[in-house]
């Protein structure tokens, strides 16, 4: 009888089987979904809540103060300086990484000898911790008593007859041009001490951009370029009008990846400069750490964190939605 039932119930049974498997599938992803719901979205909500209390000191406070903490941080010169530093860092870091990454990709793609070796050398810093990078570059950019008794890269310049290139690097307190604007408590311009930090970050990340562009370059069919060449296009025209446009999606991805790393930068700066001189290299990631875990201003720290989150989300969310759309279309 059992056998008969199995035979006759076959189609129905298959549907039931599918349902059981679907349930298992949901069960399997549930722990991860739950963990993300709590550890990402729940905690973000919690932080948002903290940012609207007056929690200072070690005893938790829950009295609601609305957006006061946001007004407080935005009105301090220190946070305004942080934002200026972050903008400068992000612009220089992004631009340099994209240009150098693309240049390296084109160079490595130019049928050179020992291509694999060069490629490996350019990418290897990606395997290192920002802390390692920070420790090493900190000593490279330690200016010493320049110009007479320099250290680091200054010493190297002096020894190779390029003494005029010596600079104060991470100890440079100048902000160029350093405009003062009514109502702002920070000077507008490029904090010169940020330049060495950008160099170290570019050293670490440009190989990654190269790898992305290289994958893109290898994906462009030779026939298209060949057709243009046959039509009399110069190498530059081929690059400008065929290669570059076809690399555009990669540039977009690179901007998102580098952008979110840049907006969150913390490890490299705490190791290389600690935010000094003054607050000339301090960024929100570091400021949040300092005021939350050193000064116990939990509510203000939470406000800084929420500002960081919003900025990153403005960059990333449109990209995620766009990616999902194109994926569904596919």
């Amino acid at each position: 009888m059992q056998q008969a039932e199995t035979l006759s119930a076959r189609p129905a049974r298959r549907v039931r089987w599918m349902n059981r498997d679907r349930a298992i599938a949901l069960l399997m992803i549930a722990p991860s979904a739950l963990a993300i719901a709590v550890f990402v979205y729940g905690f973000i909500g919690w932080t948002a809540y903290i940012s609207m209390t007056d929690w200072r000191g070690l005893a938790i406070s829950t009295s609601f103060v609305g957006f006061d903490n946001y007004l407080t941080i935005f009105s301090t010169g220190r946070f305004q300086t942080n934002i200026r530093n972050l903008i400068v860092f992000t612009l220089f870091f992004l631009a340099s990484c994209l240009v150098i990454g693309l240049l390296l990709a084109v160079l490595v793609d130019a049928r050179i000898r020992f291509e694999g070796f060069f490629r490996s050398v350019y990418i290897f810093p990606m395997a290192l911790s920002f802390i390692v990078t920070g420790v090493v570059w900190q000593w490279l950019f330690a200016p010493g008593n320049w110009p007479n008794d320099p250290t680091g890269i200054n010493l190297l310049f002096k020894q190779s007859g390029l003494g005029f290139l010596q600079a104060a690097w991470t100890t440079d307190t100048n902000v160029v041009p350093g405009w003062r604007i009514e109502g702002l408590r920070t000077r507008i311009g490029i904090p010169m001490a940020m330049i060495p930090v950008v160099v170290a970050a570019v050293w670490q990340m440009s190989g990654f951009v190269m790898a992305m562009y290289l994958a893109g370059l290898r994906g462009i069919p030779d026939e298209i370029k060949e057709a243009a060449r046959v039509d009399g296009a110069t190498e530059w025209q081929v690059f400008r009008h065929i290669t570059l446009p076809m690399l555009q999606p990669i540039t977009l991805s690179a901007v998102i990846i580098l952008g979110h790393i840049s907006l969150k930068i913390f490890d490299l700066i705490i190791t290389m400069t600690g935010g000094a001189p003054g607050n000339n290299t301090e960024v929100p990631g570091l400021y949040m750490y300092e005021i939350t875990f050193k000064a116990n201003k939990f509510a203000e720290g939470a406000a800084v964190a929420m500002v960081m989150l919003v900025v990153v989300a403005l960059l990333v969310v449109p990209y995620l939605i766009y990616n999902r759309r194109t994926e569904v279309e596919r």
């Binding site: 992803i29 991860s32 395997a127 911790s129 920070g134 600690g274 999902r324």
Partner: protein
């Protein structure tokens, strides 16, 4: 025949562009290797040769004093040996669990799609972009509550949870390349959820596991912020925090800092040297379109 004259100028032009290409390639090589050079020569100098005014000079003798000091400590330096072990204890379980979770999630999200699964995937992905500053305080509170604050298992938990987005992404994209026909065929043969996983997915998963394991290993080893916040106990801190402490202390000679940096860099570097291809794949997978 008439084209015989043409190659000559062409060849010369190509040769000039070659000169430019190779000069640039070598200039960048110098830029990328300069810190490595400094790191190596400084680490192998003995203490009496360490002088900032001669920092670019090659060591005149080979010495492991700096490594000894960085590793074992002494004269005010806390050795990194203990934190090295902490990092190993944190990285290995976190990597293993991450791989298993990522693989299961990727399998579900690529082969068992359900209404809303794409939205869920996007929501999970967002977790990999957030600044961790925005979850740190609640995280510490919760870890305290469940008695995992300032413990290695606590760090493992944190790295596993915040590793879910990237590991899920890599496995999902990897499993998307497995033909659905294989899954359908196994279903018709009567295989259930785990049967298909075992007989179809797992045998094809080796490269996916290698990519994810390498990715998680290097990023957890290199991670700093969680290590800093979640271990207030110097006995428990991972290597990156120990190195940062070493470099922040003004009493530590810089050759010891360099040796310490080299020690911290070594495990991921070895992975990169021997498994570079998979490391690169993980990197590119992080750019979503992998």
């Amino acid at each position: 025949m008439s084209s015989v004259a043409i190659p000559a100028p062409g060849r010369r032009r190509i040769r000039w562009s070659r000169v430019v290409v190779y000069s640039l390639i070598l200039a960048f090589l110098l830029f990328f290797l300069l810190p490595v050079y400094l790191l190596l020569i400084t680490s192998f100098k003995s203490f009496d040769q360490v002088s900032l005014s001669r920092m670019w000079d090659l060591p005149t003798s080979f010495s492991l004093e700096s490594f000894n000091r960085a590793w074992n400590g002494g004269e005010g330096v806390i050795g990194m040996r203990g934190s090295f072990w902490n990092s190993v204890q944190m990285v290995v379980p976190a990597t293993v669990i991450s791989c298993i979770l990522g693989s299961l999630n990727g399998y579900v999200l690529s082969k068992w799609r359900f209404p809303g699964s794409e939205t869920l995937f996007t929501l999970i992905l967002f977790g990999m972009f957030i600044p961790y500053q925005s979850i740190l305080v609640p995280l510490v509170e919760v870890l305290r509550e469940i008695r995992l604050y300032a413990t290695i298992p606590g760090l493992v938990l944190v790295h596993v949870v915040y590793g879910i987005p990237i590991t899920t992404l890599i496995f999902r994209n990897y499993y998307a390349t497995v033909p659905n026909e294989l899954v359908e065929a196994a279903k018709i043969d009567g295989a259930d959820f785990f049967g298909i996983y075992r007989s179809v997915m797992l045998p094809l998963s080796a490269p996916g596991f290698v990519v994810v394991a390498i990715w998680q290993f290097t990023s957890i080893w290199n991670e700093f912020l969680f290590g800093l916040i979640i271990t207030n106990d110097p006995q428990l801190r991972p290597v990156t925090v120990a190195l940062q402490n070493l470099s922040g202390s003004q009493f530590t000679q810089w050759n010891v800092q360099m040796a310490g940096a080299l020690l911290v860099a070594l495990p991921p570097l070895l992975v990169y040297i021997f498994l570079g291809k998979y490391f690169l794949r993980g990197l590119l997978a992080g750019s979503l379109k992998g």
